[in-house]
């Protein structure tokens, strides 16, 4: 069974204080790993897809990286508007390849 574990559960940063969120996964053949951002009362908003170990994607202050066992979402010089829950999800390459398996998320709070 596919599993995704995100850490920490919650993270408080000061504005400008860079940090990383972790997503550890167990999957029988990775087809894709997805990062989403979710604001309170809204649906998840797609950020990145990573397909293979060594791949990196960047968008503004966010950078996602992938190894064979985990993914990191690096946040450089965060701003208060980066406050949200960040979700990681995987899809396997087997028979249930339609299904996203989500982690429980990391709640990021950036204080001004």
């Amino acid at each position: 069974e596919d599993q995704v574990t995100q850490s920490p559960e919650a993270l408080r940063l000061q504005e400008g204080e860079s940090s990383s969120l972790n997503c550890s996964y167990t999957v029988s053949g990775l087809r894709g790993l997805f990062w989403y951002r979710q604001d309170p009362g809204k649906g998840p908003e797609f950020l990145f897809t990573l397909y293979s170990a060594g791949e990196e994607k960047e968008k503004e202050r966010l950078k996602a990286t992938l190894t064979k066992k985990e993914s990191f979402l690096h946040i450089t010089a965060p701003k208060p508007e980066d406050s949200a829950t960040y979700l990681c999800a995987v899809v396997n390459s087997g028979g249930s390849n339609y299904k996203l398996t989500f982690g429980k998320g990391t709640l990021l709070t950036v204080n001004p």
Partner: protein, 113 residues
């Protein structure tokens, strides 16, 4: 931009009622999904549809059914609502299975009294 629209943001129903949640996507995506999101449990897949009139059960289909009569529209039906179905319901769509992201609507917060 992909737009997934859910018909209601908030809904309050009574135990035993038949409840319909509607979702429409405007990007001609083949695949549509229904999830529920609960604190401490994360997002869980209820049903998935890969074509008109085609559906597959997800992880927690009990007490739910779905309907996809048109490509752009996917409905979730609670046959006889119960209090344990109080939750946030999220609809998503994707162009391809697996290697393409799913795009989500803003959700329907459903309360069953």
């Amino acid at each position: 931009d992909v737009k997934v629209t859910q018909s209601s943001r908030y809904l309050v129903k009574r135990t035993g009622e038949k409840v319909f949640l509607e979702c429409v996507q405007d990007m001609d995506h083949e695949n549509m999904f229904w999830y529920r999101q609960d604190p401490g449990l994360g997002l869980r897949l209820i049903y998935f549809s890969y074509d008109v009139k085609m559906k597959e059960k997800g992880d927690i289909p009990e007490g739910y059914s779905v309907s996809r009569e048109k490509k752009e529209r996917f409905s979730l039906i609670l046959e006889s609502a119960s209090t344990n179905q109080t939750s946030m319901y999220l609809c998503a769509s994707s162009r391809q299975i697996g290697n393409q992201p799913q795009h989500f609507g803003d959700g329907t917060r459903l309360s069953i009294l």
